[in-house]
Symmetry: C2
Subunit: 683 residues, 2 copies
């Protein structure tokens, strides 16, 4: 809270370094970075919003539902116990249902609306959205995707109406990512035609199960299916992990016999979600409770599946990736909210300025622009990519085409990892950009960061998901040469890399602005990076596998693998962003979108040492990119407020006093701190 003095000292000492610059002149120079480089036309924020959100009427409607319910929109959750936060999330969900929203129906019949709600409601309260995700994407989704008609019939209405709150009981104390190693058991008792569910040891306690601590009446429990051997020996055959519906509580909320549930206690955030741990001791459920879309067991104990064990396992987990799409949308909602606050505040908060002149807005500092403008561009990139993903997801559900399904799985995994990590970092940067006032709980950054943090881990740890993306890229490489003899695979690969993606010495030295802003150059550069990383990864894996075996070779190359996956996702994001630019019907909006797309790609090219190591981009070209980026960020800064206004998060939903639209950032902030209510402040 000190340190202005030092800037003043710098003034003094710097004057000695630049003797030509007389003192009094500084205030007269009319050349702030932001103003000088402005060339973008002012666009209409309504036009931009309509272009971004085809369902903007849903936004209006659902946010209106909350307008007159201030008790459901508290200024902050700090100071509320976890029980109070859970009651709040429950009431928020009940209001939504009462207003006629039917989430599980949307999930089946209007998936775009379902995911859009995920984005919108995250800004209301992230516990609320995650509780919805547990109830509908996970508990409801497991019934719909892993069960058969009888299960849908039995549960659909009660799940949709939240009359049957349920759980997705997969994770155990000892196993999160490695689902195949889960230890909970479901043993078939042929005599009674029942499954007997058991928790064999501490490590197999179900852990972090959402809805379990208070609300859950039933759960989809992932357990190793053990059925008596057909040879009549009396031994059990372990068919691996399957999903079974297990009741947890009776209608009055009492935990059923054989079930023990403990509250997981306070978490870093999301304390409105009632996570619990569960132990099963000889719990019996009817044989029909097995969700039997991919495998079934008949009255005689005969196990049947049209799939191999590994295909079935993959299919079981694959059907659940829809939950990840929801996380991407919620994370995007938080990113938009966070940038809305940071940009609006940065445009009004003033600190320091030229000698004998007014202070300037902090957003006019190039350091602030360097932090926030690429982030704003990335939010738009994520916006267009997530919309594309949701479209593809709807398409995949409709057509059930294998190719589309595979693409959706890969993109949802990669984008979930990328976006949740990006938003997590952005929340910290935005808080810091808002200085001390960003640290007031009412301004929401801290709560969002705490709530959102676990998005990087649940529904697929980001590090694991990125490995899937890399694995699928390797598979595509292989398929490309499927017709060639196996032994020649690598030769072809090498040729492909050498011919299709050569660093061109002329292009690598080309520094004209026209070239640097050419989408063709940007697309090619990002694709080159992915191709190069993929090609060299395949080579390295092949080499190390011979010596170390597959597991350790993969482990040795993990850094390369993660880098490849991120590069691929950025390449996909940029191309979807370009679609978003090209399809824009409004000329003014299009110009702003184009500048942001350029900032998105150029920043990544500038930062990645791969381009320099390969001399794909010469040293002077990196410098030219740096200069151009500086200019483009300044152009964006001039449009930054309208660019976040286009997200159109209403003030009563955004709530952060320093980030409200078209208002002095201090007005509501003072009031919230008790000042204007009791004191006349203008003296």
């Amino acid at each position: 809270m000190a340190d202005a003095g030092s800037l003043q000292r710098l003034d003094v000492l710097f004057r000695h370094l630049t003797p030509g610059d007389a003192d009094g002149q500084n205030g007269l120079v009319v050349a702030p970075t932001a103003a000088r480089d402005v060339s973008l036309p002012r666009f209409d924020t309504n036009v931009m919003e309509t272009y971004l959100d085809e369902l903007s009427s849903v936004k209006e409607d659902v946010y209106e539902t909350f307008r007159h319910r201030p008790n459901l929109l508290p200024a902050t959750l700090e100071g509320l116990s976890k029980e109070e936060q859970r009651e709040l999330a429950r009431q928020q969900l009940k209001l939504l249902l009462k207003a006629g929203y039917s989430p599980l129906r949307f999930y089946v019949h209007d998936i775009k609306k379902y995911y859009y709600l995920g984005e919108l409601l995250s800004v209301v309260d992230l516990s609320f959205t995650v509780k919805m995700g547990v109830q509908y994407s996970l508990w409801g989704g497991s019934i719909l995707n892993l069960g058969t008609e009888k299960h849908k019939k039995a549960y659909f209405e009660d799940i949709d109406k939240f009359r049957l709150p349920g759980c997705f009981a997969m994770t155990e104390l000892h196993h999160g990512s490695n689902v195949a190693a889960l230890q909970t058991e479901a043993v078939l008792d042929i005599a009674t035609d029942e499954w007997i569910i058991n928790t064999p040891d501490d490590g197999a306690l179900k852990w972090w199960i959402g809805n379990a601590a208070e609300d859950g009446r039933a759960a989809t429990v992932f357990a190793r299916l053990k059925v008596p051997s057909p040879d009549g020996s009396g031994s059990l055959v372990d068919h691996g992990v399957h999903a079974i519906v297990v009741p947890l509580r009776d209608g009055a909320g009492n935990v059923l016999p054989g079930v023990e549930i403990k509250d997981c206690g306070y978490k870093v955030g999301l304390n409105g979600v009632d996570n619990g741990s569960i132990r099963f001791s000889g719990v019996r459920v009817p044989r029909e409770n097995l969700l039997d879309r991919f495998a079934s067991v008949d009255r005689s104990g005969q196990y049947r599946s049209p799939y191999s064990a590994s295909r079935r396992f993959a299919a079981t987990l694959g059907e659940l990736t829809g939950g990840r799409v929801g996380l991407i949308c919620s994370s995007l909602g938080i990113l938009k909210g966070s940038l809305t606050i940071a940009v609006r505040y940065g445009a009004t908060r003033q600190q320091f300025g030229p000698a004998n002149a007014p202070e300037i807005a902090v957003l006019d500092y190039s350091s602030q622009q360097e932090k926030l403008m690429p982030m704003l561009a990335s939010a738009y990139a994520i916006h267009f990519t997530s919309r594309f993903l949701v479209d593809q997801f709807a398409e995949a559900k409709r057509t059930k085409e294998e190719d589309v399904i595979a693409d959706v799985h890969a993109l949802s995994a990669g984008l979930k990892a990328y976006v949740t990590n990006y938003t997590a970092t952005a929340l910290s940067v935005c808080r810091e950009c808002c200085g001390g006032h960003g640290y007031a709980a009412v301004n929401r950054f801290g709560m969002w960061r705490s709530d959102h943090d676990i998005f990087q881990t649940f529904e697929g740890d980001n590090t694991v998901l990125l490995q899937q993306v890399a694995g699928l890229l390797l598979k595509k490489y292989k398929e490309r040469f499927a017709v060639a003899p196996v032994t020649a695979t690598y030769r072809y690969l090498r040729q492909w890399a050498a011919e299709s993606l050569p660093p061109n010495p002329l292009v690598s030295h080309e520094t004209s602005v026209r070239h640097l802003r050419d989408p063709a150059f940007l697309v090619r550069a990002l694709r080159y990076r992915t191709g190069k990383l993929l090609f060299t990864l395949a080579q390295r894996l092949s080499k190390h596998t011979r010596r170390l075996g597959q597991f350790h070779a993969w482990n040795k190359c993990l850094s390369h693998i993660l880098t490849l996956a991120r590069a691929h996702i950025e390449s996909v994001m940029f191309e979807r962003f370009l679609d978003g630019v090209n399809n824009c019907p409004d000329a003014d909006c299009k110009k702003s979108l184009k500048v942001m797309a350029e900032v998105f790609a150029l920043q990544r090219i500038q930062a990645d040492i791969l381009f320099r190591n390969d001399d794909y981009v010469a040293a002077e070209k990196v410098k030219a990119i740096g200069r151009l980026l500086e200019r483009l960020r300044a152009e964006m800064r001039a449009q930054a407020v309208p660019l976040v206004d286009a997200f159109n998060i209403p003030d009563h939903i955004l709530r952060a006093p320093i980030g409200l639209s078209h208002q002095d950032p201090y007005d509501h902030y003072l009031e919230g701190a008790g000042w204007t209510a009791t004191t006349s402040l203008t003296t």
Copy 2:
């Protein structure tokens, strides 16, 4: 929480890519990355601890004080109201005082012990440490450093004993960093020999003032000093910002007339510190309350100062940089705690593994090593640098040598910015490395991140502090050529850069391990980077200043300026780390320290594109560095647990169940969740 299946899928598809690798062989290959490369001898953790902590007896003593006070060491702060958290911090402080600690005495007579307590107590509770910082470094420090003998005499004992809780009332609603623009006024009334303190408008409300909301009995208020013009015209002369002691509450805790205080409410963290906002309306205090070390006003209203206005302002703020040293120590304490938990848990948590073999510890994944090992190395680097800083600080206080004082100011500013930013990032990474269980509030990452977050902003915004560092470097550059004629300054600079730090084409292609681990190479490379950045910055500033004026030129170059400052700090840190290596009397400890120092430097050289752009490091050399780093991280991993054990944070202070020493990470965790207490878990 899904996604193991996909790894299994990858297994399948990858097998196709590597046809020579038969299935069953994988389990047989004895070559995990971590084990293969181990070459470091096991050191004695007690010897390492003794080397790190010359005051380790203080650690034992102060932590012992808390051993039997579990009520002062709650598992988590979640669910406690801010009032309850404040009472907790108060009780923690009172226990410390009762145990005979005398913080303000240490501050004056044993500064090393004072700062060491800051590191140690941060792991107890960060609100407690920050409250101590407010009371002793800020409130006490302002009396000692800005006041004169009469002030010390009046307040010392009461401050030390916390009988006179006080505030450091600098920041206002509208101004944090720009202290020179503060608006609170202190007008001299010659008739009554008093200052009249006023808050002229909303923007001048004192804001975020620690100790103000509940405890503060008085405050050092920073206000514009206005005294009647000596010309007798009746007009007031504004002498700029000075510090004055203003009583806030009477002995019974009632707010005094003319003072209004509001609670700043919930913050992102540090809710155990009672921050408030304050309004002054015609509050009168005796003339002697001006802290008059650097400027005084006599009975006749005559203002006197031996300094120019800018020197005085700098001196006023400069005397307060000691607070920053405390923040560095506290931040280091949190970094050590966080790494202790993440490393111990990572060494025991297992997930996935080779086919037909047990699962491996997550710390054996190279991706985990890439995240955590450089962080552990950096913690040691920060340790040695902060110890050096504290020594220098003590030296500066003792000798009052201008050179030492200037060095301490620069290093404390830069290190504060670097370390607090580093720790903030590390907390997020460590949480993520601990997966879902890292998200349990009891495992402390979330609370630490929320509490520590503001360390990046208060006592000097990091972005502002880094600019100071760069400014001081520019000054040193200038001084180097002070004898040369002014016009030739830049020519000399250019020559200096060209001659002293040339990229040597032979060295830039040298890739031997011996060379890459040579401290001389590493020191030279990091110094080269600083020199290059400094030289080019001076050139750019000179060029742009001619066109834009000084302020806008500085603004345009901000990215360059911040990069320079960080590069400089890393260079300093590495050299202090090398001192730490070289001075180590134990051969085994020394080997581990040396590897960490190498990882610290090599990682930064690998990551920084500057070395490539200048061809200081050729492309193949970067690759060789990458391979070496991989090996050194694996070596560190084998010693990682002893390396955090050497921090020796006792279990009762660390508390996180998954991070306790030599224990199964799940034992206490289960108990805390209510399992072992009520249920027999082994079936």
